[in-house]
Symmetry: C2
Subunit: 150 residues, 2 copies
DNA sequence: CAGTCTTATGCAATTTTATTGCACGCTGGC
DNA sequence: GCCAGCGTGCAATAAAATTGCATAAGACTG
C-alpha cells in the first residue's frame, strides 16, 4: 500500500465509472500496471465492491430518519431477535447495536410517513421487546460520504 | 422506468463492476439496448455515481460511532456554523440536522479513540455551541446497505 | 381502424478498452 | 557486487463499448 495505491483508492471511492485507461493517466501509470494494481486491491479485499449510488429522492425514498431504541430485555437472544426483525425491513438501511443507554440505532429510508407507521407497528409495538424508541427525522443532510479517508 | 430499468438499477446497486455485456445477459437485452438504458438512467440522475466501497477495517477505520448533539443556541447561523465545523472533519462520514430534542446527529468513522478525543475537543468543547452530546459506539453492525429498495 | 409519430430494439461495423506474455529495471538481502 | 523478487512498460490479442441503421412496438390522432 504505497502512495499510488492510496491515490487509486481515493479516485475509485469518488468515481469508479472511469475506464482503466483514464485512471492510469490520472495516476501516471501505464494501463496494464494500473489494472494490475486495482485488481490486487480488489483481491486483497480492501475494495469490497463497486456499486451504483442512486438518488434517494428519484428512487422514491424522500425521507430519512434515525431511530434510537431501548430494549426491555438486554440478553443476547433478545437483541438478536430484535435486530433480525429490523434487518428484514426494507426501509431499514442500517441497523447498529451500540453502547450507552440506547441499545439499537436504525437508519431508515422511507417513502412516506405511512411506511413509517407500518414499520413502527411491526418493530416497536407488536409484542416485541422495545421499552422506548425515539425518532429523529432528518431535516438537512450536511454531509453524506461513502468514501473513507486514507 | 419500467420493470427492466428497475432490474438494472437493482443489479447495479449490488454490483456495478460487471461489464455491460454481462449485465445485458442478466436482464435479457442486447448489449446496445442495455447500454442505452443504463446511460439514460445515469443522465436522468437516478444513478448519481458509481463508487468503490472499501472495507473500513482494512482502510484503517475500525471504529464507528454515532453522536447526538444538542446545541445551546438554535438559530440558523449557529446550526450552520456547527455543521460547517463537523463537515470539515474527515472522521465525520455523515452529518444530519434532525427533528426532536436532538439537533444534530453525526456518524463517525474513527481510526482509534485518540482521534475521537481530538474530534471532541474541536467540535464539542472548543468555544462551540454545544450544550450536550451523547456518543454511541457501534458494537455490532446488523445491516449496512447502500442500495435503495425499488 | 388506419396512419403516423415516437421510442426502443437488435444487428453489425468500428472504435476503444481490457488483458496477457514478455523483457527490462529497480530494490533489498547476502 | 550478485541474485531474487517485484513492479513496470510495451506490444499483441481478446473483449467490450459505442454508433449508425433498419426494424418493430406502442401510443396518439383523425
Amino acid at each position: 500500500m504505497d502512495r499510488l495505491d492510496r491515490k487509486l483508492l481515493n479516485l475509485l471511492q469518488r468515481d469508479a465509472s472511469r475506464t482503466n485507461v483514464a485512471l492510469s493517466e490520472e495516476v501516471g501509470l501505464s494501463p496494464s500496471s494500473c489494472l494490475r494494481r486495482v485488481r490486487r486491491l480488489s483481491r486483497s479485499g480492501i475494495i469490497e465492491r463497486i456499486v451504483a449510488i442512486l438518488d434517494p429522492a428519484r428512487a422514491g425514498r424522500v425521507l430519512k430518519a434515525l431511530v434510537t431504541v431501548e430494549l426491555k430485555l438486554h440478553g443476547e437472544q433478545h437483541m438478536r431477535r430484535f435486530l433480525d426483525l429490523a434487518v428484514a425491513e426494507e426501509a431499514v438501511a442500517q441497523a447498529y447495536a451500540v453502547t450507552g443507554e440506547i441499545d439499537v440505532v436504525l437508519v431508515l429510508r422511507l417513502r412516506d410517513m405511512e411506511e413509517f407507521d407500518g414499520l413502527c407497528d411491526r418493530l416497536f409495538r407488536d409484542r416485541t421487546n422495545v421499552a422506548r424508541f425515539f425518532t429523529m427525522m432528518v431535516i438537512r443532510t450536511a454531509k453524506d460520504e461513502t468514501a473513507i479517508p486514507l
